[in-house]
Symmetry: C2
C-alpha cells in the first residue's frame, strides 16, 4: 500500500440505467441472497433520461465505509449493502496508478474503506426502480474501482443481492434475469437478450403520478404474497415459464402484438397476486391519502384509454405496465404510435394552467414536436381521440399527472471519465455538494432571525412535531436543508435548478418541485416565480 503519509484519493464514476420489467419479478425463494421464484424480463431505459450516477472513492484516510444518496448520508449497515461490499471486495485485484503513485494490492482492499455518492435523476422509491439503477451502479463502479475481472453477468449476481431487479440494470436493451437453481445463487444472473439497437423503434412514455415513497415496500410486499397468496406459486411455476419463452420470441421477432399482450397481461397478473395477498396490496393506489387515491385511479383510466385505443386499431399500438408504484409505463410500437399516445395522454391529462409544458413533458421532447404540440394552447386544442364515441363525453383530468417522461430502450452501465462529473471531491473524497454546500448554508444563516429562532427552540426544547432537526450546524425542516436569507444562496439555488436538470429551463412548478425536494425556506415559491419569470433565456425563447 502507498505510504500513509502520502495523501491520495482514487475515484471511479459510473452511470447505470434503470429498467422496467415486462415479465414481472415478484416473490423470493431466498430472502438473504435475493433469489426469485421466477425468471423475469425487462427493458433497459435510456440513461439519458433516467439513470443513477455513482462515484466511489478509496483512500487510506477513510475511517469507515460511507455513502451519500441524493446528497444525504445514509447508513451502509444494512445487509444488502454489506453483501454487495463483501462480494466485491472478495473479487478485488491489484490496482496501480503510476501517475498518482498509488499501488493497492488484492489484499489491501479488505482494510481500505470506500466512500460512495449516488444521485438519481428521478424520484427515489416511487416505483421507478431507483434501487435497481442504484445497486447496479454501486456494484459496477466498485468493481471498476477494485479492478474486479468478472464480466457484467457475474457482477449482476452481486447487484442482485442489493436489489433483485438491479441485476437487470447491468445490460442495455432487453434483459432476462434467470432465476437459477443453485442454493448459493451463483446461477441467478442477468443475461442480455438483445441490445438496445435491436428494437429501436420502440418509444417509452412514463406517466409519473406521484414522487412520494410508496407505502408497502417491495420486500415486505412480496414476502406477504409468497406466504399468503394461493395463486403466486401457480403463477411462478406454470404461467411465467411459458410467458418467458413467448416473450423472448416476440422480442427476437419484433412481434409487437405478442409483446404488448404479454406485457399488459403480466402487469395485470402482478397486481392480481398483490391483491390476492393477506392483507391485500394495492400498488396502483393508496388507501391513506385522498389525493393519492385519485392519482392511483388515474392509472385505471390510462389502462382503459390504452385498451380502448388498441381495440379500435385492431392491433396493439401501445403496451402498458405498472411496477410496484403508481406510475404508468407505456411502450409504443413506434414513433407514430408514441405521438398518437402522447396526444391522447395530454388530451385526458392536461397540465394545470400554471404548469409550463416544457416541464410537463420531459426527456425526448421530439415526440412532443412530432405530435404538433408547441405550447399549452396546442394541448387545449387537442380533439378527443376518435375511438371515444360521441355519446360518452370525453373526460379530462387536469393536473392529476405530475409529468410525462419520453424515453426509449437504452444502453447498459458506462464509466464516466470526465472527472467534473464525479460526485465526490477528488481531494477530500467527500460529497462535492455536501462540503461546499454546508459552508454556503452556514453562511446564509448569518443574521437570519427565523433560523436563529428555530435553532434556539431546538436546543432548548426539541419538539418532534415541528419537523425540525439540526446536524453539524445545518438546520433541516422535514429533513430538507434550510437555506438562510443572507447572501444570494436562495437565488443561486433557484437559478441552478431552473437552468439545469432533465427539463432544462423548467417552469415555476417543476422548478419548485425539484428545489423543495432538497431545500426549504419560507416563501420559496415566491422566489421561484420571480427567478423563472425574469429568466433571460426563457424570455428570449418565448419571444421567438
Amino acid at each position: 500500500m502507498a505510504e500513509q503519509s502520502k495523501k491520495w484519493v482514487l475515484m471511479v464514476t459510473a452511470q447505470t440505467p434503470t429498467n422496467i420489467a415486462v415479465i414481472k419479478y415478484w416473490g423470493k425463494r431466498d430472502e438473504n441472497l435475493i433469489l426469485a421464484i421466477n425468471d423475469s424480463i425487462s427493458v433497459t431505459l435510456d440513461p439519458a433520461h433516467l439513470c443513477t450516477t455513482t462515484t466511489v472513492a478509496v483512500s487510506p484516510d477513510f475511517d469507515e465505509d460511507r455513502m451519500w444518496l441524493n446528497g444525504k448520508e445514509i447508513s451502509l449497515a444494512g445487509g444488502r449493502y454489506q453483501n454487495c461490499l463483501r462480494e466485491i471486495r472478495a473479487r478485488a485485484s491489484d490496482v496501480e496508478d503510476e501517475k498518482k503513485g498509488i499501488k493497492i494490492t488484492k489484499n489491501d482492499w479488505q482494510n481500505l474503506h470506500v466512500h460512495v455518492a449516488s444521485y438519481n435523476n428521478f424520484p427515489t422509491a416511487a416505483g421507478l426502480a431507483s434501487s435497481a439503477a442504484g445497486f447496479a451502479c454501486l456494484v459496477f463502479s466498485l468493481a471498476k474501482l477494485m479492478n474486479v475481472q468478472e464480466d457484467n453477468g457475474r457482477l449482476s449476481a452481486i447487484a442482485r443481492q442489493g436489489s433483485g431487479s438491479a441485476c437487470r440494470s447491468l445490460f442495455g436493451g432487453f434483459v432476462k434475469w434467470v432465476m437459477g437453481k443453485e442454493e448459493d445463487g451463483s446461477d441467478s444472473i442477468a443475461v442480455p437478450l438483445v441490445d438496445e439497437k435491436h428494437w429501436d423503434e420502440l418509444v417509452i412514455i412514463i406517466a409519473v403520478v406521484s414522487s412520494r415513497q410508496k407505502e408497502t415496500s417491495s420486500t415486505s410486499g412480496m414476502r406477504d404474497t409468497v406466504e399468503t397468496s394461493s395463486l403466486i406459486e401457480h403463477r411462478a411455476k406454470e404461467v411465467v415459464p411459458k410467458r418467458i419463452i413467448k416473450m423472448e420470441e416476440a422480442i427476437q421477432n419484433h412481434d409487437f402484438p405478442t409483446f404488448a399482450q404479454l406485457t399488459c397481461s403480466d402487469s395485470n397478473q402482478f397486481h392480481a397476486v398483490c391483491m390476492d395477498t393477506t392483507p391485500p396490496i394495492f400498488y396502483m393506489n393508496d388507501t391513506s391519502h385522498r389525493q393519492k387515491v385519485l392519482m392511483g385511479c388515474q392509472l385505471f383510466r390510462i389502462i382503459g384509454c390504452v385498451e380502448k385505443w388498441n381495440r379500435s386499431e385492431g392491433t396493439p399500438q401501445v403496451a402498458y405496465t405498472f411496477d410496484a408504484g403508481p406510475n404508468a409505463v407505456l411502450i409504443a410500437r413506434n414513433r407514430k404510435a408514441a405521438t398518437l399516445m402522447l396526444q391522447r395522454l395530454l388530451f385526458h391529462f392536461p397540465p394545470n394552467s400554471d404548469t409550463d409544458l416544457n416541464s410537463y413533458v420531459i426527456g425526448d421532447k421530439s415526440i412532443l414536436k412530432d405530435a404538433g404540440i408547441q405550447d399549452i394552447k396546442d394541448v387545449d386544442a387537442l380533439p378527443p381521440p376518435p375511438e371515444i364515441k360521441d355519446k360518452i363525453p370525453a373526460q379530462k383530468y387536469k393536473g392529476e399527472i405530475s409529468y410525462f417522461i419520453c424515453t426509449r430502450p437504452g444502453r447498459g452501465p458506462v464509466l464516466l471519465t470526465d472527472e467534473s462529473q464525479a460526485l465526490l471531491n477528488p481531494e477530500t473524497g467527500l460529497p462535492k455538494a455536501a462540503t461546499q454546500m454546508d459552508e454556503e448554508l452556514l453562511a446564509s444563516y448569518e443574521g437570519d432571525q427565523e433560523v436563529l429562532q428555530a435553532t434556539t427552540m431546538l436546543s432548548s426544547n426539541p419538539d418532534p412535531t415541528l419537523n425540525l432537526s439540526i446536524q453539524q450546524g445545518i438546520l433541516r425542516y422535514k429533513g430538507k436543508a434550510w437555506v438562510g436569507k443572507h447572501g444570494m444562496l436562495r437565488q443561486q439555488l433557484v437559478t441552478t435548478i431552473h437552468t439545469s436538470g432533465l427539463g432544462g429551463h423548467s417552469g415555476v412548478w417543476a422548478t419548485y418541485q425539484r428545489l423543495k425536494a432538497i431545500f426549504y425556506w419560507p416563501d420559496m415559491m415566491e422566489q421561484v416565480k420571480v427567478v423563472v419569470q425574469e429568466c433571460d433565456i426563457c424570455q428570449r425563447c418565448k419571444d421567438e
Copy 2:
C-alpha cells in the same frame, strides 16, 4: 280448463331473499345452463331488509307472457327467462280452485300465459345480487302457481338457469351451490348448510357506494376471465375446493376467525382474477366517472380500516367481502363488533350535513342505538378509533357513502298470503301500479304547459339528446315517468315514498333519491323538501 267466457285470474305472491357469497362464484363451464367452474357458499340476507317480491298470475285472457320489473315492462325474450319458464312449465301439475271455479290441468300450462311483476327493495344491478333474488323469486312463485311438486333444491337448478347465484337464494342461512358434474346440470344445485338460526350472532353491514348499474356485466366479465386469465383454472380446481371444506367447518363450528380469513381472502382473490383478465376488470372502482372512482376507492379504505382494527384486536372482529360491484359487505362476529364497526364507519364516512341519519343507516336500526348514536351530533362527536395512531391524522370522507344497511342472516323464500301485497291487480292481472298510475299520470298532465310543450316537440321532431320519450301517452324523461302539475299526484308521490320503504320517514335526500329513480318532474327536490319538512310524524318524533 275453465270456460273462456268466465274471466278469472289466479295469482301467487312470494318474497325471496338476496345472498352474498363468502366463497365466490366466478366462471362458468356451460354458458347456457349456467354451470359454475367451482362450488360457492353464500349467506342469505334477511328479506326484511333486502328482498325481491314477485307476483305471478295466470289467466286465459293473457295473450302472451309479460313481466314488469320495478314497475317497468321488460322483455321476457331472453334465453334466461325462457329457460326458467320452460323448465317450470314442464313440471307443472293440475291446479284447482273450487271457490273461484278454476281448474287447470297439467297440460293446460303449455298454452296459458303468465304475467309477472317483480319489485326489488334495493338498487338493481349495482352488485347487490338483485338478479339472484329476482330469478329465485320468479322460479319459486311460478312453481307455487303451477303446483310444481319439486323441493327447493330441485327448483334451485331451474333458478340457476336464470342467474347462477339465484340458486342460493332458495334457502335461508348458509347455502352451498354444488357445481355438479352432469352435463345437463341436474346435479348443479343449492344445498342448505345451516339455517339462519344456527349462527344468529352474526350482523351484516352493507356500505352502499352507488346505486348505478355496474359497467361490466357479470356474464361477460366471467366469460372474459375464463377465456383469458391464467390463474382462474388454478383457483377453481385447486384453491376453492380446499376453501369450501374449511368454510363449511368454520360455519358448523361458529369459528369466526377462520370464517373471516376465508371470506376476506376469497373476496380478494375474486378481484385478483378479475384483474388477471384481458382487458382487466376492476369492480371495486370505475374507470369512466370521477365520482365513481372516488367512491370505489373508498372501499380500499374500508378494507384498510377493517384490516387495521382486526389486527389491533388480535382476532378478527369483522370480515369484508365485495361482489361484482363497489358495495362493501361487512360481516361482524356479533352485535358488539357490529356496533364498534358502525362507529368506525360513521367516523370515517359521516353523512353529508343535509342527510338525515335516519335515512343514512337503514335496516336494523337497533345497531345504531347500541352504538349510542341518536342524531348527527353523535356522529360528529365520535372519537377516532383507538387503533389509529396519533401520528397519522384520522381521515374523514364525508358524503362518499350513499347509505348503510344493517341486516343479518335471514330465511329463504316465503309465500305472501295477504292479497294486498300482490303486485298485480287481481281482476286485470296487470301491474297495480301501472294501470292505476298510468291513469293518474295522464290526469296530471291536464293543462300542464311543460308537458304539452314536450309532447308537441316529440311528435314533431324527436331529438334523442333530449332524453324524452312517450309511450301510451305517458311522457318519460330518461325513462322515468314525467309527473304533471295537475292535481295532487306530485305531492301524493312524495308523501308515499317518504312514509314507506326501507327507511320509513326518510330524510329529504333519501326520499328524493327513491323518488327520482322512478319519476321525474322539474324542481322535484323543492317539493320533497316541503313535504318532508312538513311531515307531521317527523315533526312529532323530533319534538320527542
